[in-house]
């Protein structure tokens, strides 16, 4: 289950809005509440930024988070919620929306029992305005949990372009489409040209191929022996690479594409990213 955060909150809310039902419009509607009747703060969210926040690639700016703790802002949100948001809600869907929020909160292990109890009590009350305002204030305050993101990136293929090392799995999805998460499923088959993510113990060996220093990565997935060749130059730290090579094997999380599967169950793959995920 995903983290109950600003992105999830807005997505679920937008599904119940008469107008402003696009995620971007719902985002603007809610963030305008922060500056409702106050001129203390001024925020400008370009479409790209909104898209990144909604896709979990970027967190909301710290200054917005700080503003949400200002008593004037809290007051503005609570005052404007019944006037701005509630009239736009499709009434028959309100209970379902609250139910969905409740399920998400229940399933989010990062929320403390005490906070869970407080939020669920609100959800079970009949005060939709207060509940939405409190939930909005809550999600404004929690940073994106870096779930399924690289805590440490060790290798990045030159085929993969990125501006920084944040949210690489999401950036990968944007560039190459979704991958199949083998850590979460039980696919036994690997199909050519499909992208996968896996966490696996890998054997490593340095080799010299046609004038280039490479590191070969081998791992076993069910009956398949997967091999990939990575350029040493694309490993982010040469010292770390040396230490991994000395150890000879290490558990990595990798995103790879299958290049071919031979009859003898040898599978050649192209690795885009190698690292360790946040736990």
């Amino acid at each position: 289950m995903p983290q109950f955060n600003i992105s999830v909150f807005i997505k679920k809310l937008s599904e119940c809005l008469n107008e402003h039902s696009t995620q971007s419009a719902a985002f603007n509607l809610l963030f305008n509440l922060i500056t409702y009747n106050t001129d203390i703060y001024e925020f400008d969210f370009p479409d790209k930024k909104i898209s990144n926040v909604m896709n979990g690639i970027e967190d909301i700016p710290e200054k917005v988070r700080n503003a949400s703790n200002d008593p004037n802002v809290i007051k503005a949100i609570k005052e404007s919620m019944p006037k701005v948001v509630i009239p736009l809600l499709r009434k028959p869907l309100i209970d379902d929306l609250m139910y969905t929020y409740g399920e998400l909160i229940q399933a989010d292990s990062s929320i403390s029992p005490k906070t869970k109890e407080r939020l669920l009590t609100l959800i079970n009350s009949d005060d939709t305005c207060e509940t939405l305002a409190e939930l909005f204030l809550y999600v404004l305050n929690i940073p994106f949990k870096k779930h399924d993101e690289f805590r440490e990136l060790y290798y990045c293929s030159s085929a993969f372009t990125h501006d920084n090392k944040n949210n690489l799995l999401s950036v990968f999805k944007q560039q190459y489409g979704n991958f199949i998460d083998l850590d979460k499923g039980s696919n036994k088959e690997l199909e050519v040209d499909k992208a996968y993510k896996i966490t696996m113990n890998c054997s490593m060996e340095s080799v010299f191929v046609r004038g280039s220093y490479m590191t070969n990565i081998t791992f076993k997935y069910y009956d398949k022996e997967c091999t990939a060749s990575t350029s040493c130059a694309n490993w982010i730290s040469q010292s770390e690479l040396d230490n991994f090579l000395n150890a000879g094997n290490k558990t990595f999380t990798m995103v790879f594409k299958v290049l071919n599967v031979c009859d003898d169950n040898i599978c050649q793959v192209h690795i885009y990213l190698i690292g360790e995920l946040y736990k």
């Binding site: 060996e205 340095s206 080799v207 010299f208 191929v209 046609r210 004038g211 220093y213 040493c232 040469q238 010292s239 040396d242 230490n243 090579l245 000395n246 000879g248």
Partner: protein
């Protein structure tokens, strides 16, 4: 830093059981006149030869490979190799040849032969011969093996440090003496180089290294003055060698095409031709 000296340093640390996974130029420094690791928290220690096994052999090979990645020329790698193999003896020879299993050889580096060469080390680490040879090698007082302490080949060959060695250790020790002599003579007495190379060729012949023998004798003939005694001896030895040994034209051509190389570069090539002759001819 002098790549030959780094090669000797790598061999010495290896024989002392110190394996640096992150072995690269940036991690080397000078303390007085000695090369040292400046960043060594990850150095792995083991007892050589007692704990030598396939895994230790793999770790040493990876360590050497990590240094090679930080070198950028054939000349530097060749100089490192000569320092490493001459000071490291049989174990260094095995480690260097094991690099071929990773695709690294003079032939692949120069693009002469790109297919992978195989060097079988599967049973080597546990052989008594290897362990005894390493133990014996480690006892040699290496500091005295140089032309300053032992100024003539005659004196060296009859020295106690040489005569008390087994045949295998003596071969590697002779090689070390020749190489160290070469470094000094090249600077101070270059006219002695041909006879030194002739002796290296004869040493190779004793150990059945046909292509090294052929290459070194050919080089000696090439650099010695025509009609000089050494030139005549070389020509005669080459003539006999070609009559008694099967020198394949394909490999002979590789040697002759590279005869102008610096000696250290040339030695790497000759070693690979001898070591992988059969695979090269497949």
């Amino acid at each position: 830093m002098n790549m030959y000296a780094i090669g000797e340093f790598a061999a010495e640390t290896m024989l002392n059981g110190k394996i640096q996974p992150d072995f690269k130029m940036d991690n080397l420094g000078i303390n007085g006149s000695r090369i040292v690791f400046v960043d060594s928290p990850e150095v792995f220690s083991c007892c050589i030869p007692d704990e030598l096994d396939n895994e230790v052999l793999r770790k040493i090979t990876e360590s050497i490979f990590s240094l090679l990645r930080s070198l950028h020329s054939y000349k530097d790698i060749s100089s490192f190799r000569v320092g490493f193999t001459s000071r490291g003896g049989l174990l260094a020879d095995i480690i260097w040849n094991n690099l071929a299993n990773k695709g690294f050889s003079s032939l692949s580096y120069k693009g002469i032969y790109n297919d992978k060469l195989l060097y079988d080390t599967s049973n080597m680490p546990s052989t008594i011969t290897l362990k005894e040879c390493i133990s014996e090698w480690k006892l040699i007082p290496f500091d005295i093996i140089n032309i300053g302490n032992i100024p003539s080949l005659q004196a060296y060959l009859s020295s106690k440090v040489r005569t008390t060695r087994t045949q295998l250790s003596a071969y590697y020790l002779d090689f070390l003496y020749y190489i160290r002599s070469f470094i000094v003579l090249k600077q101070h007495c270059p006219e002695q180089i041909p006879i030194l190379i002739l002796n290296m060729g004869l040493l190779s012949h004793q150990f059945g290294k046909t292509y090294s023998t052929f290459g070194l004798l050919s080089k000696c003939a090439e650099i010695s003055r025509p009609n000089h005694d050494i030139n005549k001896v070389c020509a005669e030895k080459l003539h006999i060698l070609k009559q008694t040994e099967n020198i394949v034209p394909k490999l002979e051509n590789i040697i002759l095409n590279n005869i102008d190389q610096d000696l250290f570069e040339y030695l790497w090539l000759l070693n690979d031709l001898d070591t992988f002759e059969k695979q090269l001819l497949l």
